[in-house]
Symmetry: C2
Subunit: 740 residues, 2 copies
């Protein structure tokens, strides 16, 4: 090499440092990408996909799948539809009538609204119901159970009210809807009504539809009530893809169907029932927005609830599209949003699905301009999400083995609105998505969406949170529970996952009703689709950077930092339980509760509980510290190696293949206690919350459920997972330390 050749080479290296040649290339392609998405297109896609009801099994659901397929193909993607056969009950009979103290029959119907053109498509609309309720015909006194969480039943018990043999009426909110019949049945109820209280998403919040965005008196929230916290997907094929040849459970043995019949109702239908409940006035926190005294019951209102379903098998149409990777074709970046809705679903899911399509179109443009992603990009439009993540779960279960060594990252969206970037997911991607957010312009303020998110954290935070938002390099992302198609990827297969959306500005009350449609969205939500464009820019930028990065851009110091907070949390939880039980026992012993009781309103004295034992958290603390050290070593090694990766392709390939396994170190084949399908030991939906995450779920839920021996076991299992991760990082670091 001549002196001048060396000078030229050095100049090139200097220009591209510190990111390395390919990162530099990627940076420029993602910038090119961001100029392409168009808000008008997103509106057009929404208008098309939400033009008719398109629930699983409907004609327009299939039509949409085929249209999406055609679009992907038009934009140069290698696309096809993958089909599964799933159990999907639809209503044959629905009846709610009050038989005492007066007669009243619930309408169970959302009427069309004149100004809203799609609200009148009645022949194609699914009736209002909860999917995977069992058939049933019960008549029983009514008990109001607030949100129907375990904590609400504790309140009932204190007041000496049992739901045994009763039909409960719970309000929507505060927990995933499927929790409500599950907990009701555990307490002996024979039926369950769920209604939308006006305090939660009706007139109390703002004007109702069509004059405003909120739920009107007839609006009903449809939705699945399968026991998703046990496992999502087709109830008949847990753990395996619902292919034609799959072995299926008998419906009678399917564990995720409800134990009692369930039906959702509007507050128009609920008001006469609620007003007819007697007994003691409900606690202040149980009061909703109806102009009545909320009472607990039981009775005198007696209700006849009858539901019967067609228990049909239905095809699921997932649209799966690929752009083949040039360098690492077997390393995949997967991105999905579901295309099925409960009815027209402009907000849920079409506002997210439209952004996904616009990303796909823009990437097609990049390919035309010469871009070849280094990794394979897989874009998916899921079907059957609303019933219980059917399309995504069956696909992940079906491709479980392949995904285990190919799927590097999964990015999910599921609807969109105006406002702030919401980001949840694996903390190995926390640093990465913060970097993306810094490069996306907020449509309203023209500052970066990162800056705006930081501003909210500062404006709404405690002193401690404000200080962290100002000084920590990355804004924290949320851990993921469940409620959308990321669950099978993250919690079953162990794929590092992100779930993204914008929101926080507009309230609405049309969730899972016929009024979630183009008319509502374009009037009350992201009406000019500018946040749809911002979502496409955010996700597309993330996908392109992931596809083109030299090394998978995982940052494990964020994981270690987050795990340290979880370890502190579960210790604090135990301490709190210890203090609570000690204090309650002392109050029982001292007669404090008897002393403050009102003889006119008797309460049950709680029973003394065994003291909460101390637990050995040392394995978890040691493992968290080991992980912290390993993560720091990896960061140092990766930072040092990055400028010279181009010359070390072999090492890079090895490291990338191992990094794909990094999130999977947190996954254990045996899964969580009582629910082996959930295999991630850091994140799971709460067994009794449904949507909300439980972090370190084995440990946390064992403490919450007073299974202290199990908690000890779970501490050790969680510690082993952290140790595995640390060990993988040490191996990878050793590899990277060889880069010269």
């Amino acid at each position: 090499m001549t002196r001048s050749a060396l000078a030229v080479l050095l100049a090139i290296v200097l220009v591209v440092a510190p990111s390395g040649p390919s990162a530099q290339v990627a940076r420029s392609w993602d910038a090119t990408f961001r100029a392409i998405p168009d808000a008008g297109n997103i509106g057009d896609y929404m208008r098309r996909m939400s033009a008719r009801p398109h629930h699983l099994g409907s004609a327009y659901d299939k039509d949409n799948a085929e249209w999406i397929l055609a679009k992907f193909k038009e934009w140069g993607w290698d696309a096809r539809i993958e089909t599964y056969q799933v159990l999907f009950p639809t209503p044959k009979e629905r009846l709610v009538e009050m038989v005492e103290p007066s007669l009243f029959r619930a309408a169970l119907r959302e009427p069309p609204v004149a100004v809203d053109p799609t609200s009148g498509q009645e022949s194609e609309q699914l009736p209002t119901y909860n999917a995977y309720s069992i058939d049933g015909d019960v008549t029983a006194p009514l008990v109001y159970v607030n949100y129907g969480r375990p904590v609400d039943y504790e309140e009932l018990e204190r007041r000496g009210v049992s739901v045994k043999g009763a039909i409960v009426i719970a309000r929507y909110g505060a927990s995933w809807r499927g929790i409500k019949p599950k907990v009701a049945a555990e307490h002996g109820a024979v039926g369950c009504l769920i209604y939308s209280d006006p305090a939660d998403d009706g007139y109390a919040v703002d004007e109702v539809f069509p004059n405003g965005p909120m739920r009107n008196k007839d609006g009903v929230q449809r939705g699945s009530v399968m026991d998703m916290p046990s496992y999502p997907g087709d109830p008949l094929t847990p753990g395996v893809g619902a292919t034609p040849e799959a072995k299926r459970l008998d419906i009678r043995n399917a564990p995720t169907l409800t134990a009692i019949p369930v039906l959702p109702i509007s507050y128009g239908d609920a008001q006469p029932l609620m007003a007819a409940i007697g007994g003691r006035a409900a606690p202040a926190a149980w009061r909703g927005g109806l102009p009545i005294t909320y009472r607990i019951g039981p009775g005198p209102a007696r209700v006849h609830l009858k539901v019967a379903f067609n228990w049909n098998m239905t095809p699921v149409y997932n649209v799966v599209a690929r752009l083949q990777g040039s360098t690492y074709p077997d390393e995949w970046v997967v991105r999905g949003n579901h295309h099925d809705a409960w009815v027209n679903g402009a907000q849920d899911p079409v506002s997210g699905m439209s952004a996904e399509l616009e990303e796909a179109r823009a990437m097609g443009e990049l390919v035309k301009q010469g871009w070849r992603p280094r990794r394979t990009i897989v874009y998916i439009a899921w079907d059957g999400e609303e019933q219980g993540l059917l399309g995504s779960t069956e696909w992940v279960e079906h491709h479980d083995e392949e995904l285990r060594y190919k799927a590097g990252v999964y990015i999910n969206t599921d609807g969109n609105g105006r406002g702030f970037l919401n980001a949840g997911g694996s903390h190995s991607l926390e640093h990465f998505i913060n970097g993306v957010a810094r490069d996306i312009e907020d449509p309203d303020t023209k500052m970066s969406v990162w800056k705006r998110k930081q501003a909210r954290a500062i404006a709404n935070g405690t002193a401690e949170q404000r200080s962290e938002a100002r000084t920590r390099a990355d804004l924290r992302i949320d851990a993921l529970g469940s409620g959308s198609d990321y669950s099978p990827f993250l919690q079953h297969n162990g794929v590092p996952t992100l779930n993204l959306s914008f929101g926080g500005m507009d309230d609405d009350g049309i969730y899972h009703s016929i009024y979630d449609d183009f008319y509502h969205f374009s009037k009350f939500a992201d009406s000019d689709f500018r946040y749809g464009r911002a979502l496409a820019q955010t996700v597309g930028t993330a996908v392109i950077r992931l596809a083109d990065a030299d090394l998978w851009p995982f940052e494990f110091t964020n994981v270690a930092d987050t795990v340290q907070t979880y370890v502190k949390e579960v210790q604090a939880l135990l301490k709190q339980r210890q203090d609570e039980v000690r204090e309650r026992n002392r109050q029982i012993e001292d007669g404090v509760l008897a002393a403050i009781a009102d003889p006119r309103r008797p309460v049950q004295a709680p029973k003394a509980e065994a003291p909460v034992p101390a637990l050995n958290f040392a394995p978890l603390e040691n493992a968290a510290n080991t992980l912290t050290r390993a993560a720091e070593r990896y960061k140092k090694a990766a930072d040092a190696a990055r400028p010279r990766l181009g010359a070390n392709a072999g090492i890079v390939a090895t490291v990338n293949a191992r990094l794909i396994q990094s999130e999977r170190q947190f996954v254990e084949p045996a899964g969580l206690p009582k629910r082996p399908w959930y295999r991630h030991l850091l994140y799971a939906p709460g067994y009794y919350t449904g949507y909300s995450v439980k972090t370190l779920p084995g440990v946390r839920e064992a403490i919450e459920q007073k299974s202290y021996a199990e908690a000890e076991t779970e501490i050790v299992r969680a510690a082993r997972a952290l140790d595995r991760e640390a060990s993988l990082l040490d191996q990878v670091s050793a590899e990277l330390e060889r880069v010269r």
Copy 2:
């Protein structure tokens, strides 16, 4: 003295120690007393006094005064009626009509209820109105201002909503009603409606009257809206008794009348007005229980409000009864409850007045049995309390000089219910009233009312409060703000004061309505009057012990301990204000609030504020410590002297005369800034809260109102008051240390 005589003397001393001979006697008289009060009598008094409307100036108000006078006389008291002439406006014209966007005329009327015999006495009922509203006739757009506190106007300002030229509609609650028109006028409103929201005391809480205890759609809260935090009593004679010859202000110059017309309305009348308000949806915390979207306005609802009053002078009939003291006739124990009501007033005030009468009867019995109180007991039934503590204020102002050296303690009640003993007052009486409470049996639980109060403090407290409730010798009593007849005694004259009641079990919504009557009370409140009996036992025991004690039973270590907490609180308040302003200025500078704003719902950016300066709290800290030492010295001296007081009558007389001045050391003739009538530097009603107390009010309110120079002055004034008290205690201790 022979040996045997000495032995006899010692034996006597040993028998009576540690209380001393006369305390021993007192103990036995108060035990005798407690067996006398009878629940049936209390019910009978209530039935009599609440049989007809008996507001100030009414025929039955005078009739009740004369009946009470006769009763006192019958029971052996030296009783008379003392009369003042006060300004008392009653309605001539009341009109609330919505003129846009639709027509609606408010009923402004509480209809009789068939099952409730006194609710139909319409010819004698005062109409629904707010006393001391000025006359007015205004038509203006409506603005909803939540509870109408200063903090609510800050919310409005953030949303860019002004009440200038508007009529505000505020809901009752969270502040004294007179604050609402005062703050509204300060912000430029031209009229004020106040309504009872069903979330606060209507159907949201429990069933409405007559089916339940809560306010029905027609129920209206009458009440005074004079600027009582400036001074209570007759608006025309501030600071002097409203005797015929008193110099009176011209009505046009009376500073405690409102600046704008005010009228209270029911939620039946409020609902059409509230529903017609447009503009932005109100903040979540502003939502009440009406089945509408709460909006702020201004308009489009326009309201015509017209009120005109008869500005008459009215006689006030205070009934004043005495039992002459045998040893210290010029040391008085004063006890009062008002007899006037807004309408029938079974709860307010008759439930308390009936207990007072039963105490008087029982003391009459004791006198028959040979009891002679050592100090003079003065029992008073006040008139004109509802209008603004008229009877008590004029009496205290009239007798100001005499009371200053005679009034040793004032005990107030004002209504009663079932449940827990509520005790507020001077902290020099904290230890004393704890002692009384230990000797009163709770009617429901048969434990002492002290024990039950402790149980509640434990059950509802934070960990710190629980620990204190379990270990501190005395349960803390509340500091007093205003809202009943104790204010002139405590805050103007400096008499150590207690305000006592039972309550906490039953909700109700009949306050100041025609439905506060015997039917309601006997159905939904202390229906068998057993807590009325407990109140009579509590107050009577306290009065007898105070009247017969050797030394006034003041305990100053409780005062010092309490003052130390106040000093810490005002320091914490300043720190919090400093932090808030610093943080808000930083957020303004960093553009945080602009960043999180929703362009569809614009908010006003707050202006940067000058940093909050540090203040010199050293004088207050030093004085509090001096007081602590002096209080400990007094306790030691008094404990040591107590067994030998009988032989030191001269010292005892001197000490008692000085102790009567002890609370008055906290009083300063110049009074508080902006309101010289309030002269106590430890306790005052909040200038912008009305009922709620502000402790160390000069210091605290100066900080709250950003008058930091004034705060420095007030710190010094408060410190001087503490020093004066310490100095008095040191003198008294020196006297007692002479006891041998």
